[in-house]
């Protein structure tokens, strides 16, 4: 029932869990360079800036959510995307729950390793529940006030 949601150009797609191994950032740093692997997982207390010099040797970054209401991962993701320019896979792991998915997506996550009790198919709906975004974020960088005309036109089209 659970699974892995991945953003594709066609929208979010549900897949089987891929079992990809992410190494804790501290362990990754401590390992010999040739043994490091290309995927790290950050804890909510990790400083994303410390990854800056290592980004070119990584192919995926995960951020752990100890519980659905720990919002630190949202800021870490935002900084990775906007400040450090990370364009590779950004995966949410841990307590990844239906009702947080839309927030996570807005902060730049593109892969969601759903927790066991989630209904993966149902979770696909979570990304489009709210059709109006007031503030800029990673996904839509412009706040609503900088794109009002387009947004109003889109709503009018949807309602027509």
């Amino acid at each position: 029932m659970s699974g892995l949601i991945r953003f594709t150009p066609q929208g979010p797609v549900l897949a089987e869990k891929d079992g990809r191994v992410f190494t804790r950032f501290a362990d990754w740093l401590a390992a010999p360079v040739e043994a490091r692997g290309g995927a790290v997982v950050l804890a909510p207390t990790d400083d994303p800036a410390a990854l800056d010099e290592h980004l070119s040797s990584l192919s995926a970054i995960a951020i752990e959510f100890p519980k659905p209401t720990d919002g630190r991962g949202f800021s870490i993701a935002t900084l990775l995307r906007t400040r450090l320019g990370w364009t590779g896979e950004l995966r949410a792991v841990g307590a990844v729950a239906y009702d947080q998915l839309a927030f996570m997506a807005r902060c730049g996550f593109d892969v969601f390793d759903l927790r066991e009790e989630e209904d993966g198919t149902a979770c696909l709906r979570a990304f489009s529940e709210i059709g109006v975004l007031y503030q800029g974020a990673v996904d839509q960088k412009l706040p609503l006030f900088r794109r009002r005309a387009q947004a109003l036109a889109a709503i009018a089209e949807r309602d027509a």
């Binding site: 902060c107 059709g131 503030q135 609503l144 900088r146």
Partner: protein, 570 residues
């Protein structure tokens, strides 16, 4: 649903309130549908109580002592007549016929059913209202001066900025789960009527020498068990950068605020741990990346939002000579002196309807009263009313020639007690009669204080008594001239009394006088404090002035005459 009266039917005056467009409307409608689905999943057992909790809280729904409570946002306190009538309808259809105005200019309903909440939210959405982020660990309802836009001492109207902040903070993804709640307030007048010093983040709006709007930014104020006054971290922020700077403040808090201890999770603890300078430095280090970027506010957007907050079509001949009516009706004269405030527009006045009445919980309003206030607002105040953080309602634009008629009507409704700013105009949390957190029953306590002080309240003059049923401080006891806090001692209700707090421009935290006392002792203790003031005051001194001049010691002595029984120090 669409409501009559909304949208300025007949092409008349669109009142000085923000109006939703298709985008704002879509957002609240989507939010209702989302919460309806979440609630259905919860009721079907597909969503655990733990997972549902933060979702319902961010939609205003609490578990209370007797029943769920729904807190509805009233952004910066402003209400149209149509909205007042919807609030009345909710009270009638979904509650027990009344609502309760809070110290955050909101209204809460104490007897709702979980399964009916999505329907209530849909009703609110139809009236351009919502309950988004009225609870939970997120940015809460933005508050400001209840005399915004009409006060003679106002330099900058805070309402457009409050609305811009409301929109930016609504469903902001990065800050959806902060360490703890986050309260924002604005003030644009010389006198601070918005209690900005006890907010997590507050803005004083002013104009610089060049006439440009600037913001003084204050952080880290709050009450609770570690009361702190906010400290200034930026003196002269250009208004265009208000949201970017807020983003930097919130990001610092989101990343570094404590999450291990509920009682140390507010931003005030972080600001104190780092020190205000270091905190400001961290904020600035982030802000440099945001300044001048996509989040920088445009003149066009400020103009768009400001265009809603226009003056009503004031009459040129609104003034009146009230001296005859004053002389003939002493109660009217008292009401004019206490409940009617000066207005920027000659001939107009702001009228406070008192929701502090004998036998009724402070801030409670019945459906009939809400409807009646809507009628009064329509008739006498261009269809607009405001909620004050003192839990009263204001009619903001009343012609002086209408004052006597309005007084008669308000008096007939029991809303004209001439007590604004006096001892019986108490701020009180709902207390143990409703709230699951409270140690003490604030409402019956307020009643005993009222009975004791009402006979001498005019002699005392300005006195802000604020009562909280527990240390969460919803009743603002830390900033009452006299504060009262309910504490639990082995399952019994006891009360601490504080003196010297204030939330105006010269903000200060009250000091605890000493041992906590039993409920039946509180009113007489407070009366002794008032009597001390009456004996010691100098010409023109208010209670708070005397308290500040004398310091706390004489009040301690007056509070605890040697023979009075009391419990050990709390």
């Amino acid at each position: 649903m669409r409501l009559p009266c909304m949208g300025g039917a007949g092409g008349g005056y669109l009142k000085g309130m923000y109006r939703y467009d298709a985008l704002d409307r879509r957002l609240v409608e989507d939010r209702v549908a989302q919460f309806r689905d979440q609630t259905a999943r919860y009721l079907a057992g597909k969503l655990s109580a733990d997972d549902y909790k933060p979702l319902r809280l961010q939609n205003g729904l609490y578990e209370q002592r007797h029943a769920p409570m729904l807190r509805v946002a009233i952004p910066y306190g402003m209400l149209s007549t149509a909205q007042l009538r919807v609030l009345a309808e909710i009270a009638r259809r979904y509650d027990r016929g009344y609502g309760h105005f809070t110290t955050r200019q909101n209204i809460q309903y104490n007897w709702v059913k979980i399964e009916e909440t999505p329907d209530i939210l849909a009703l609110l959405a139809g009236a351009e209202m919502h309950a988004i982020q009225t609870s939970g660990n997120c940015v809460r309802n933005v508050t400001t001066d209840h005399f915004a836009g009409i006060a003679p001492d106002e330099e900058v109207d805070p309402r457009p900025y409050s609305e811009l902040m409301r929109q930016w903070s609504t469903l902001n993804p990065e800050f959806a789960h902060l360490p703890r709640k986050f309260k924002v307030a604005f003030n644009g007048a010389r006198e601070d009527r918005a209690a900005t010093s006890v907010h997590d983040l507050a803005f004083d709006l002013y104009k610089n020498a060049a006439g440009e709007v600037r913001l003084r930014v204050k952080v880290g104020g709050g009450q609770g068990r570690t009361p702190r006054l906010a400290v200034t971290i930026r003196e002269d922020l250009p208004w265009q950068e208000m949201l970017n700077y807020t983003e930097a403040v919130l990001r610092a808090y989101n990343r570094w605020g404590r999450r291990d201890n509920l009682y140390k999770a507010r931003i005030k603890i972080l600001v104190e741990a780092l020190g205000p300078e270091k905190f400001a430095h961290e904020v600035d280090a982030d802000f440099v990346y945001l300044e001048g970027g996509a989040g920088t506010l445009t003149q066009e957007e400020l103009d768009r939002v400001s265009s809603f907050f226009v003056d009503p079509p004031y009459a040129g001949d609104a003034d009146a000579d009230l001296s005859n009516a004053r002389a003939r009706h002493p109660r009217f004269a008292e009401w004019l002196d206490r409940n009617v405030a000066a207005h920027k527009r000659p001939g107009y006045a702001a009228v406070t309807l008192s929701f502090k009445r004998a036998g009724i919980a402070p801030g409670d309003a019945t459906a009939e009263q809400l409807d009646a206030v809507a009628d009064l607002a329509e008739r006498y105040s261009f269809g607009e009313a405001r909620v004050t953080h003192y839990q009263n309602l204001v009619l903001s634009d009343v012609a002086q020639r209408d004052l006597f008629e309005l007084w008669l009507a308000a008096d007939a409704l029991g809303l004209a007690e001439a007590n604004i700013g006096l001892a019986t105009d108490m701020i009180t949390c709902p207390g143990g009669d409703f709230c699951a957190l409270a140690n003490a029953r604030s409402i019956p306590l307020a009643e005993t204080i009222r009975a004791r002080l009402a006979p001498i309240e005019n002699e005392i003059g300005d006195l802000a008594i604020k009562i909280s049923g527990c240390i969460n401080s919803c009743g603002h006891h830390h900033v009452g001239h006299i504060g009262v806090l309910g504490v639990d001692k082995n399952g019994e209700e006891w009360y601490q009394v504080l003196v010297g707090g204030r939330s105006d421009t010269e903000s200060a935290l009250g000091q605890i006088l000493g041992k906590s006392v039993a409920a039946e002792e509180v009113a007489s203790l407070i009366e002794r404090l008032a009597q001390l003031y009456l004996r010691e005051r100098r010409r023109g001194e208010r209670f708070i002035d005397t308290a500040q001049r004398l310091g706390v010691e004489p009040f301690k002595a007056a509070a605890y005459p040697a023979s009075k029984p009391a419990l050990e120090t709390a």
